[in-house]
């Protein structure tokens, strides 16, 4: 055994490719380490981040493990040494052991190189002065060693023994690919499983690399835990690691005992083959004419392409890959085609995106593998020894392989379509949009497939080693985009292989204007790889070569005539298309990398920072004329403003900063009190202009200001430019310039890099008297009057806030005039598309009639009732409990799916088409988020528009947390326990899992500035709990008082989070005030669990259950460190439950036999309860109302 072991070792160490592998294994983690960047409060070289690097590496390392561990036994087969080797006096076991451990030693050397690479990378990263890459802690050997051991060594053992086994028994390279791909699927599927609450537990078992299991383990960890906890074999991670390690050992042992020389040498069993028994009669020789024409050449090409194509598709592994790809695509489509756990309708636009998302990785792998196979096929099957002497041109030999691969690409593209249609059919959806299928797949996927295969083909022609060839292709495919994006921080699509301009598909807007840019960029990549392929043709191996020099010499001699012409043609076309694309993306349009935009913002702050908090004009009245040009995607706007000097000092200048997302937006005219103004400062780069007023505007004086702006789009851009679309424009008041400057660079690392002061808080404290007078949404106005006239293409409907006063057509345009009935904050939207309008009426408690309108795509009629119900319920709830709805109209307006959100402007709520319009709510048990979100957005009419937050720390909770609260109450009343369950469970999960992403220390609810998970999810959890213990009516009474005090800026200040807190605190009984403090001012996590529960039957037929629950409440500081374990009593639900009840509608709810809220002391609390029926489960906080990182142990089975 020792001999074989040493032979294996020496064999490997003598081969140069081994050192290349070792070097690459060193280099990848080194680069990942150097360029690792932390934008959160986590250290850049935290144990967690280092583990992440090893996780990524495990995937790449698969190639090297396969290359080393797959071949040792196969080598004896390939080199035909097996026959003799096995006659030597070596036992089978020793043979296997020697080969295996020899190879594994090499693999371990590679893993050690990787560990050293990571160490070197991070240490180097820490030494470089780059504040924007985050902060580093001291070097800790164990942070590298543990992931090396638990990830790399474990993975290499499992993968090694698997590949070793596969090759030993199957002796065929394709099996190796299959094994590798199955492992890939394991990782990608486990990642998918992890993304859903219902399936995340499965990821532990499915993930061969341990990455998903690690992510699952650390899901709810705080930044502090991520920073300080070393990787250890615990919990879910241990389960995963031991599972796959044991599987590895099992496979190894199996190989060891199952391997026999005899079995290895026996050839495959004969297949049944067709035989024709008819014999030919004549043997007279037929004389034939031979003719070598151009036409014949073309036919030869076609004929050989067919043979090559058949050689790919008749390969069983190819078929297996396709089948697996289809299954995975189906699974990923199922996983993705939902929102908040509720399925979406299987629309074609979802199908094309999800199916290709699921199958793309496969298709790419298939194309890369088979490009390699196509290059090597006639060599590895030795056909070339006679075939290359046939009168077939080099071009035919070369092109036939490419044509066969293009055939495979067509096949793969068609499979995408087929899977989509099958999925739709399976779901009983028959509205196939074939045009969309074909357009998407053949304009987006197919060109990428073609350039992928051309690239892979070229690399394989140049590199005469299959593994190395595959690896180089992968590096170019994955590595270059990472290099360009992460290291060079350039987002130029012309530099990252396969990149195109972005786009999206919408039911409203179709493919929009995006196909143009995608066409040119796709063409660019096809031509690029076409150029490579043309050059590659001279390197095609025909016959035998004795040296690289000879090959080069031959290549030179072949580079003539047509080859030169084709190469030059491709090169010229490539350069032309590249230049044209560059002109569009970079000259006609603007594209900046993140570094330069950071620098621009930093420079602006240095120049204009002095204007912050300086008095500026404010708007009291706006009459807007907006012309939307949907064909050219442009806007002309004219705003007639009445402005006021709200301050105590005269104002002599007006600052105007253009905030509109369309890059080419210009202020074309500024007229102040009938006098045209020219800026004395023009910063067209930052788009900031300063005008001097002809005479100072005195305090409290008003003036007339007319501003005209133009926004234009040109050619195709890297920006999706969603403001104005062909059908579905949606933009807001930013079409007019802002009158004040605000800082734009908030990330502290970047601020430090550019010499700006670090910010602890983004907003001023709640005591700042200037900030208290600032409206959080737009400080350019307090409450104001608004009127708008919008024109758009005929056939489209344009909408702005307010009631529709008048509409008319003029020439080929339609005009709409809207007027706000009451004052509102400076926050308006403009929308235009072809709509159907669904109307309804809601009667206010006072008897006022309010018109309800839902502007929707003619395709989206399915869920309109949910929206209207949400509107009515929320209008009712807010009007009855707080203040009557002040307007006579309320609308929901659909906009295209470039983003998934809804935004509440006064009277008008633009709503993404993906946020409920295309959901499938047919199953009652599924969470109806259309209703929920609508209730939330309607609530903003009060919480946001009637009471507007001030521009201070935490004030946004007045808007978001209260809107969440109202929607939660609406759910409670409409859907009961099931509705709440669908809300609280994901809220808890989202809050806990996002905590570690805080880029500042975690703030309390009262101080939150940027954490959505705090103001939405934590906020709703807290509010739900408070109304649960204090009473909904009491809370609402407090909120009503709060609203009345702060509505419409009547008090002269805007509300703060403290005011909100006090409003609740004041109505809360003393004994419960701790809950208000915990919720608003602290970071509190409970660790509640059931310790044990036993029941026995009493003589009277009743059941007496004794159960012990453990209650623990921990206070954390803002870095995630434990601050205090509470020793006081807390109010917590306890209960006993029977079997869940499933209603006729398929909805499952809990069945409490006993349920009460109790004061629990810290630690164990035991209860003895008698119930009529036998309880199955005992629970503490069984409905998960409290924030608890392990909610699974809150309910436990009762033992008898």
């Amino acid at each position: 055994m020792k001999e074989i072991f040493l032979f294996e070792l020496k064999y490997r160490l003598r081969r140069p490719v081994t050192y290349i592998y070792i070097f690459i294994m060193f280099l990848i983690p080194c680069l990942l380490g150097v360029f690792d960047e932390s934008v959160t409060a986590e250290f850049t070289n935290s144990p967690n981040n280092i583990t992440g690097v090893f996780g990524v590496l495990s995937v790449f390392a698969l190639f090297f493990y396969a290359a080393i561990m797959g071949v040792p036994v196969y080598r004896d087969e390939e080199h035909k040494t097996a026959q003799t080797y096995f006659t030597f006096p070596i036992s089978e076991k020793n043979y296997i052991l020697g080969r295996f451990w020899g190879s594994f030693t090499i693999v371990t050397i590679m893993n050690i190189a990787a560990m050293l690479g990571a160490m070197f990378g991070y240490v180097l990263g820490a030494l470089l002065d780059r504040p924007d890459y985050g902060t580093y802690i001291d070097f800790n050997f164990w942070s590298y060693f543990f992931p090396f051991l638990y990830l790399l060594v474990f993975n290499s053992f499992f993968i090694g023994s698997l590949f070793f086994c596969l090759m030993t028994f199957f002796k065929r390279m394709p099996i190796l690919y299959l094994g590798g791909i199955l492992i890939f699927i394991g990782t990608s599927v486990s990642g998918q499983l992890l993304s859903s609450l219902d399936t995340e537990w499965l990821s532990i078992y499915v993930d061969p690399f341990g990455q998903s299991a690690y992510s699952f383990l650390t899901k709810y960890w705080s930044v502090d835990e991520l920073n300080t906890t070393q990787l250890a074999l615990t919990g879910k991670f241990m389960l995963n690691r031991l599972l796959w390690l044991s599987l590895g050992i099992l496979i190894f042992v199996f190989t060891l005992f199952k391997f026999s020389y005899k079995g290895f040498l026996s050839s495959k069993k004969k297949k049944n083959v067709k035989e024709d028994n008819d014999l030919m009669g004549t043997t007279e020789t037929i004389s034939v004419v031979q003719e070598f024409s151009e036409k014949a050449q073309r036919q030869n090409l076609w004929s050989l392409s067919k043979i090559e194509f058949l050689s790919i598709v008749k390969e069983p592994v190819f078929l297996v890959l396709i089948i697996i790809g289809v299954i995975v695509a189906g699974f990923i489509t199922y996983q993705n085609n939902q929102y908040n756990g509720t399925p979406s309708l299987p629309l074609t636009r979802f199908m094309v995106a999800y199916v290709s998302g699921g199958i793309a990785l496969f298709s790419t792998i298939i194309l890369i593998i088979y490009s390699g196979e196509a290059v090597h096929r006639t060599r590895s099957n030795k056909t070339f020894e006679f075939y290359d002497a046939l009168p077939v041109s080099n071009t035919t030999l070369y092109l036939s392989k490419i044509i066969s691969l293009i055939g495979v690409a067509v096949l793969l593209t068609l499979i995408n379509i087929l899977v989509g249609i099958m999925y739709q059919t399976g779901n009983g959806y028959f509205d196939y949009e074939l045009g969309m299928y074909l357009t998407y797949n053949f304009t987006t996927l197919f060109p990428l497939y073609v350039s992928t295969l051309l690239l892979a083909f070229f690399i394989h022609v140049l590199v005469n080693n299959k593994f190395l060839g595959h690896f180089i292709v992968i590096i170019i495919y994955v590595g270059i985009p990472i290099l360009v994006g992460l290291v060079l921080k350039i987002n130029n699509p012309l530099l990252a292989f396969g990149e195109t301009t972005p786009g999206f598909i919408s039911d409203l807007n179709g493919f929009g204007h995006y196909l143009t840019g995608q066409f040119w960029l796709n063409l660019y990549w096809v031509l690029f790889t076409g150029t490579l392929a043309a050059i590659g043709s001279v390197f095609w191996s025909r016959g035998f070569y004795s040296s690289a020099k000879e090959r080069l010499k031959l290549a030179k001699s072949r580079f003539k005539g047509k080859t030169v012409a084709y190469t030059l043609f491709f090169l010229f076309a490539f350069i032309s298309v590249g230049a044209y694309s560059f002109y569009n993306i970079k000259v006609l349009n603007h594209m900046e990398d993140s570094d330069s935009s950071e620098k621009l913002s930093a420079d602006a702050e240095k120049t204009y920072g002095k204007y912050i908090d300086k008095p500026h004009i404010q708007v009291i009245d706006l009459k807007a004329d907006i012309d939307i040009y949907t064909d050219t995607r442009g806007v002309d706007a004219k705003g007639v403003f009445t402005v006021i000097n709200p301050s105590e000092v005269p104002i002599d200048t007006v600052l105007m900063e253009i905030m509109f997302p369309t890059y080419d937006t210009k202020i074309t005219k500024v007229v102040y009190n009938d006098q045209e103004l020219k800026p004395f400062l023009s910063d067209s780069l930052y788009r900031l202009f300063i005008y001097k007023l002809p005479e100072s505007l005195q305090p409290k004086d008003t003036a007339n200001l007319v501003i005209e702006t133009k926004a234009r789009t040109h050619g195709f851009a890297m920006d999706r430019e969603t403001a104005v679309l062909n059908n579905g424009s949606f933009f807001n008041d930013a079409i007019f310039p802002s009158f004040h400057y605000d800082i734009a660079l908030t990330e502290n690392g970047a601020r430090e890099k550019y010499g700006l002061e670090k910010l602890d808080f983004l907003f001023p404290p709640r005591t700042d008297s200037i900030a208290l007078k600032k409206n959080l949404f737009n400080e350019d106005s307090n409450y104001m009057d608004f009127e708008a006239t919008i024109s758009t293409s005929k056939g489209q409907t344009a909408v702005a806030p307010g009631v529709l006063v008048e509409t008319w057509d003029h020439e080929d345009r339609s005009y709409f005039n809207y007027k706000m009935e009451d004052k509102s904050d400076y926050f308006f939207n403009f929308v235009s598309a072809t709509y159907d309008i669904e109307k309804d009426v809601w009667i206010a408690p006072s008897g006022k009639k309010v018109t309800i309108e839902v502007y929707h795509s003619p395709k989206h009629k399915k869920n309109l009732a949910s929206f209207i119900k949400g509107i009515k319920v929320s209008l009712d709830y807010n009007s009855k409990n707080f203040y009557e709805y002040p307007y006579s109209v309320i609308r929901i307006i659909e906009f295209p799916a470039h983003t998934t959100f809804a935004q509440s402007f006064a009277t008008t709520i633009p709503y993404s088409e993906d946020f409920g319009f295309v959901a499938d709510f047919s199953n009652e048990g599924d969470f109806n988020y259309a209703f929920r979100v609508t209730a939330h957005e309607i609530a903003h009419q009060w919480w946001g528009h009637i009471v507007t937050p001030s521009k201070t720390r935490g004030a946004n909770i007045i808007s978001e947390t209260l809107a969440e609260y109202v929607s939660l109450m609406a759910l409670k009343h409409e859907y009961g326990e099931n509705g709440i369950k669908g809300f609280l469970k994901p809220s808890l999960d989202t809050y806990l899992s996002r905590r570690s992403f805080s880029f500042k220390p975690e703030r309390s609810l009262m101080d939150v500035e940027t954490g959505q998970h705090i103001w939405y999810q934590k906020g709703s959890m807290i509010m739900y709990d408070l109304q649960d213990v204090i009473g909904e009516d009491v809370i609402n009474a407090g909120l009503k008082t709060f609203l009345n005090e702060y509505k419409y800026f009547e008090k002269g200040v805007y509300a703060t989070s403290e005011d909100f807190y006090k409003a609740i605190y004041n109505v809360t009984p003393d004994s419960l005030k701790y809950k208000v403090d915990d919720g608003f001012k602290e970071i509190v996590l409970y660790e509640n669990r059931v310790m044990d529960a036993k029941t026995k039957k009493l003589d009277n037929g009743k059941w007496e259950t004794t159960f012990t629950v453990n209650s623990k409440k921990i206070y954390y500081d803002d870095t995630g460190k434990e601050k205090l374990i509470d020793d006081k009593k807390n109010l917590v639900d306890v209960g006993l439950f029977g079997e869940d009840i499933t209603g006729d509608d398929g909805v499952t709810i809990k069945n409490p036999f006993y349920f009460e809220i109790k004061w629990l002391s810290a630690g164990d609390n035991t209860f003895t309860i008698v119930t009529d029926e036998k309880p199955l489960k005992a629970g503490i906080d069984p409905y998960n109302k409290l924030i608890d990182r392990n909610s699974d142990d809150n309910l436990e089975t009762v033992e008898e």
Binding site: V273, D278, M280, E291, I307, S311, N381, E385, L390, S546
Partner: protein
């Protein structure tokens, strides 16, 4: 007429595969004899356009093999010693494809032609079977078939009968000699009998060079009366080898014999034997300097 002049080839590891090879080969069967590693396959590959030479020329009639490889390929039939196939393609489809490549454009002609060819190599009933499922002998016959497509003017066959049973071998030899009537056929082999039976001309090839060239019988006759045989003991082999020009040592009915080359009876116990081409072959590869 194939003429090879001053052909040289040295591999990067220093092996001189072709050492100033000069050969003129006319119509008919030409046998190429040589031990393993003599450079026969290198020579054949080079003629078959599959390998470059360092220097020298190969001309077939008016075709320069190095500058017009495609022209040569049109009239070439080549059966390499070790070759493979597309495993997932049937023999019929592959031969049909090769026929197309060899310029047989008429579909009906081609079909009949391929069928005839399959029949000739006795593969007709296996024509639908994938090549990957062929046995070694069947594959060899397929190789023969593909080499014969399109009535080649230059046929190069490298160890063609390896793996064929005697019946198939005869069948192939007949085919080959038919073709040799109006084509140049180069047969590389180390079966000396095949050369005697089939070839009108031959060369002995060793260490990259042509050792001798001529008519097999005439060459064989040059050693008439100069080959002697002796029955010796096993332990004497080395002594004899150092003292005599031993052509071969072989066993007959368990007794060890040596054949020795000498101008006259070399000594006691030796008897003159009826020499054959094999003796000449051994003679020429052992003593290249004397020829």
């Amino acid at each position: 007429m194939l003429s090879i002049t001053n052909l040289n080839k040295t591999y990067p590891n220093g092996t001189k595969a072709l050492n100033n090879v000069n050969l003129e080969i006319g119509t008919g069967m030409f046998g190429l004899l040589g031990p393993n590693g003599a450079g026969k396959s290198s020579l054949m590959r080079t003629i078959a356009t599959l390998q470059q030479a360092d220097s020298g020329d190969i001309k077939f009639n008016d075709i320069n093999v190095f500058t017009e490889p495609d022209e040569l390929r049109k009239v070439l039939g080549y059966l390499p010693q070790d070759f493979g196939v597309y495993p997932k393609v049937s023999a019929e489809m592959m031969l049909n494809h090769i026929a197309k490549i060899k310029g047989i454009q008429s579909k009906t002609d081609r079909k009949a032609y391929v069928a005839d060819l399959l029949n000739k190599v006795n593969l007709y009933k296996f024509r639908k079977r994938n090549l990957g499922d062929y046995s070694g002998g069947m594959r060899q016959r397929f190789g023969i078939a593909q080499a014969l497509i399109g009535n080649p003017k230059l046929i190069i066959v490298d160890e063609p009968t390896a793996g064929l049973d005697p019946l198939e071998r005869n069948r192939f030899h007949n085919l080959l000699s038919e073709l040799g009537e109006d084509a140049v056929v180069i047969l590389s082999t180390h079966i000396v009998d095949d050369v005697i039976n089939l070839c009108t001309n031959m060369a002995v090839f060793n260490e990259g060079s042509v050792v001798v060239q001529g008519h097999p019988l005439e060459l064989s006759n040059t050693l008439n009366n100069k080959v002697f045989r002796k029955n010796i003991a096993k332990e004497e082999v080395e002594i004899y080898q150092s003292e005599y020009n031993v052509l071969s040592t072989y066993l007959r009915s368990g007794n060890l014999y040596i054949n020795v080359y000498a101008e006259g009876v070399p000594g006691e116990g030796f008897e003159e034997v009826a020499n054959n081409l094999e003796d000449f072959y051994f003679y020429s590869i052992n003593q290249p300097q004397t020829v």
